[in-house]
Amino acid sequence: MKNMNLYSRGDKIFVFANMVLIALFTVAALYPFIYIAALSFSSGFAAAAGKVVLTPIELTLAAYERVMSEPAFWNSYKNTFIYTFGGTLTSLLIVIPGAYALSRPQLWGRRFWNLLVAFTMWFHAGMIPFFLNMRDLGLLDSYFGIIIGFAVNAFNIILLRNFFESIPTSFEEAARMDGANEWQVLWKVFVPLSKPAIATITLFCIVARWNGFFWAMVLLTDEGKIPLQVYLRHTIAELSDDEEFSSTLLSAPYSVETVTAAIIVCSIIPVLLIYPWVQKYFNKGILLGGVKE
């Protein structure tokens, strides 16, 4: 704390209390990660006995060996990449032009279209009709169904639309005078100026896709197409149900818990790797200097 002397007694207490609170939150948020990581490197026996708290007990790679020896694991991992990459790309390709169109005053019936998009945030048909809809469109058990079925997100569209609306119109006008058509105005001016907003929705998309579980479970029955999260569930169910495995539990080097933890660790790593790369686009103030206020 710099210049702490300049704070009054009350302010100091306030600042201190804040710091303690933030520290507690950080620990609370971080602990599950640490716990899962520790669990994944512990022996099945230690895990089942509930001995793991902070660090691996009876350090072993058995859980990872078990996980990685399964071709189905790698296949689901691949599927998750397909859904995440394809889904995010599809989302951006729909959300960006959509948000741009909705942000333009010259859009015919603009209020109506905006209302229509916002409407879906509060009201939707519900799960069963959605499922039936997907089924009738022949989108069950299909990569394409998962990717296109969840490509449009009203919240992301509205977020980006608001950002586009905040960009001074003179940029659009300057580009139009420079000969740009609408498409070029969007991709050569608005998109580069909106990097922070686009990075935000990209991250939202990636995380949502990466963790996507429920609909994948409902819409995909083909084991070859399921993503990692569904595979994780299947594995838990499978190991728990496996009589033979349960009976040898005391001697097995891994357990349901450690295998689950190992799969979770494997699934978290790519997100951790991607985050710093996306975060560098969260810098504000890119509009600075282009127009004189």
């Binding site: 000969g179 050569k188 890119i286 200097g289 282009g290």
Partner: protein, 364 residues
Amino acid sequence: MSGVFLEGIVKRYGSLSVVHGIDLEIKPREFVVLVGPSGCGKSTTLRMIAGLEEISDGTLRIGDRVMNRVAPKDRDVAMVFQNYALYPHLNVADNMAFGLRIRKTPKDEIAKSIEEVAQILGLTEYLERRPADLSGGQRQRVAMGRAIVRHPDVFLFDEPLSNLDAKLRTQMRAEIKRLHKRLGVTSIYVTHDQVEAMTLADRIVVMADGRIEQIGTPMDLFNNPVNTFVAGFIGSPPMNQFSAVIEEGQGGLVARANGTTIPLPALEELRGAAGRDVVVGIRPEHVHLGAEEGTSAIPIELDLIETLGSEALLHTHVGNETFVAKVETHGEIGHLQGVNALHVKPERVKLFDRETGRAIGRAA
């Protein structure tokens, strides 16, 4: 280079009409300035020429093409915006190249154009910088460079200097004038600043309330304003105006106001005008110190002296109306303190109809 022709140009927003029918012929290579108070429709008119606003009524031609329904990019005009609107994510060179790249100009040609324009504008050292790292004057230059590299048929400027400080504004004004001399591109320039208009324009278009009040060369407008609005708008300080009644004097007609008698020029239009209500207009520059035979001696009480250096402004009043005289100081103002009379030559006195505000007669 092309001329620009406006015939009965109207702009309506819904039922609200903001430009009421503008007729204007701009010759190829001409530098025309639209000037008028804020909100009078200058920008709207310019933006209709640019294609950024739809034209509600009338015909716009550039060269011999009717442009009413042509997209901005196909009009071959370039515009410099008041806020510059430089692309913040691109450096100076890329900002200038943007339009050329979109038009698929060959790479070596782009490089050559940019180098050349950067040279003209003194931007060579700054080509790699982002707009955020430039001063106001440099940004202004980049905005102009972006317009120039395209070699457009017509330049449009919307108050390009109004964000600069006074000194830089004067400097850039001169630069714009030099550029126009050098490039000879038809230019339409919008400003609310009459000094900018006077210094830059081949011809000035004075606008008020969505209408054209007068079109003419700077000296035209200065010497022969067609009405009290133009008289008050052009010139700094503005022309003194006060109400008077025309009477028969000893040597001819005079205008009488609050005990001041001002001999009038012998104008054809004033024959039999005795008793007419008029507004008298006298430019501060045309007022001289002291009383003199055959001129209008105006007895005065000094309210205030503003010293400008080589000149001073004497503030006084005729009746309730302030009256300002601009006089030479010759380096000192002591002799101005005791001034109790001013005079003006009859041929310098302007008369306007009090009812309509229109000028009566035209002096040489």
